[in-house]
């Protein structure tokens, strides 16, 4: 123990401030001039976003109809349950080698991992939404003269929408992690935030590496804000959504 710890404390504080300041400079630099290869940080972000966008879109298109089926049909739900649980517990990252074998090193390989990550939250939430539809609402709709197509578009769909959106929020979060992981492992395309962060580590440019990580976090936050905004706009009728 030092007898006079004060100089050390100040030294640490100054170092921390210096680090934060350098990080801001590096971050801005990455946004203005780009990395040492001249690729702008936003280009890396865009590449990752396209991959996540494709995977996420496919996840919505596949998981919502399947969730409807599983939620509606108890037998189908029981039959598919073991399969879903097994596949769901294989981490998407464990699929990356498989994905490379099947899809090569392109967009689809990454999107496939994103799809895997986003699919199950959307599927399970949609199915639970269908199971929770009030019997009374369906009965009333039928007696008022609703046909099957009315039941689906005017009762089932709006009734499950909150849970579908919850599934989408979780799914997009997982998907965003998946795309970064997929860019780090194997998919050595020269753009993408995951690729960038790992590459900067290899090159010993640790401030660039951390700036990349911050970008990943910021975009994750923005994506969630986007869906929360959607939730707020579409679900004004819910008890939980503010008046």
């Amino acid at each position: 123990m030092s007898l006079n710890p004060l100089p050390n404390v100040w030294g640490i504080i100054i170092q921390i401030f210096y680090l934060i300041f350098s990080l801001i400079v590096v971050f801005c630099n990455l946004l203005v001039k780009g990395d040492i290869f001249g690729v702008n940080l936003l280009e890396h972000a865009a590449a990752s976003l396209i991959r996540v966008g494709v995977g996420f879109a496919v996840a919505i298109v596949t998981a919502v109809p399947l969730g409807l089926l599983i939620g509606w049909n108890k037998k189908l739900s029981a039959a598919t349950h073991p399969l879903i649980e097994i596949v769901r517990h294989i981490p998407p990252i464990a699929w990356i080698p498989f994905s490379i074998v099947f899809f090569g090193l392109g967009l689809f390989s990454s999107a496939f991992i994103v799809w895997l990550g986003a699919f199950f939250p959307i599927l399970l939430n949609t199915a639970s939404g269908v199971r929770n539809i009030g019997r009374a609402q369906i009965d009333v709709a039928i007696t008022l003269g609703a046909k099957e197509k009315d039941l689906i578009s005017k009762v089932v769909f709006p009734a499950i929408l909150p849970e579908v959106i919850t599934g989408m929020r979780v799914g997009l979060g997982v998907g965003w992690m998946c795309v970064i992981a997929s860019e780090m492992i194997g998919l050595r395309k020269p753009v993408g935030l995951g690729f960038f962060v790992l590459e900067m580590q290899y090159l010993g440019r640790y401030l660039d590496m951390i700036a990349g990580m911050i970008m990943i976090g910021l975009i994750g936050l923005l994506l969630d804000y986007g869906l929360r905004f959607l939730e707020y706009r579409v679900l004004r009728w819910r008890e939980e959504v503010g008046r």
Binding site: D139, L144, G145, D150, K154, P158
Partner: protein, 261 residues
């Protein structure tokens, strides 16, 4: 008041047994028969779990009887009957629709043009007294107002009959008696045939032209009683209290038998 007029609903020898969660048989209804006449207000009273809801669902075609049949306007009910005003206990409003959109649901699915819908909804909002709440969502309404919306929604399609399943059971006592008065007022305007299910004896006597008393499970028709008291009925009048005592006695005997007390 519909006395021995045209038969609107004919419930004939209806029996229904469910298979419970553990495979046990639950006999809900046994040989239930009664008729409802055009324009009549019938209440079905019975203890909790006597199959009242099942009976109503069978009449609406939402459940199939194991035996017997239901005829509406002379036609046997084979599947869900559309064009009925079915009003369940609660949670039946579409929470994603405003008051107006809830009321016009039935008109919408029946392809009624927009201008016509608007006219009908406006009249109904006036009838049930929900002016000023047209654009509110159900979450912004009290329990009584929600049931007013449910009533208006049922009336919007000009239903063949109104089927109500304990519609006021979850309201506090004051709101409940207010809603009973309101419902009678609304009923006087259109004189639909009504089957109103309740376990609340006072409510049944206050509202009905005729009461059908069901026994506890399996539900059987135990007693039929015409209520000839002039409306508005006064719950504390001797005649009212007499009828009430008679019904209570019947119910209690049944209760004692069931629980071997």
């Amino acid at each position: 008041m519909g006395d021995k007029g045209k038969v609107k609903i004919d419930v004939s020898n209806v029996s229904k047994t469910f298979i419970g969660e553990y495979g046990q048989k639950i006999e809900a209804l046994r040989n239930v028969s009664f008729k409802v006449y055009e324009g009549e207000f019938l209440t079905v009273v019975g203890p909790s779990g006597c199959g009242k809801t099942t009976l109503l669902k069978i009449i609406a075609g939402l459940e199939k009887p194991d035996e017997g049949y239901v005829k509406i306007d002379g036609k046997i009910v084979g599947g869900p009957v559309s064009g009925l005003g079915y009003i369940p206990q609660e949670f039946s409003l579409f929470p994603w629709r405003t008051v107006v959109e809830n009321i016009e649901f039935g008109l919408e699915v029946n392809g009624v043009p927009k201008a016509e819908r608007k006219r009908i909804v406006k009249r109904l909002i006036g009838l049930v007294g929900l002016e000023g709440f047209e654009k509110s969502f159900p979450k912004e309404l009290s329990g009584g107002m929600k049931q007013k919306v449910a009533i208006a929604r049922a009336l919007a399609i000009d239903p063949i009959v109104l089927l109500l399943d304990e519609p006021f059971a979850n309201l506090d006592a004051q709101t409940r008696s207010y809603m009973q008065r309101e419902f009678l007022r609304i009923w006087h305007e259109h004189r639909k045939t009504v089957i109103f299910v309740t376990h609340h004896i006072e409510e049944a006597i206050y509202l009905a032209d005729r009461i059908i008393l069901l026994s506890s499970r399996p539900g059987r028709v135990k007693m039929e009683l015409k209520i000839n008291l002039p409306r508005p009925r006064i719950v504390t009048s001797p005649e009212f209290v007499n009828v009430r005592a008679k019904l209570l006695k019947e119910l209690e005997e049944d209760f004692i038998k069931t629980f071997n007390m």
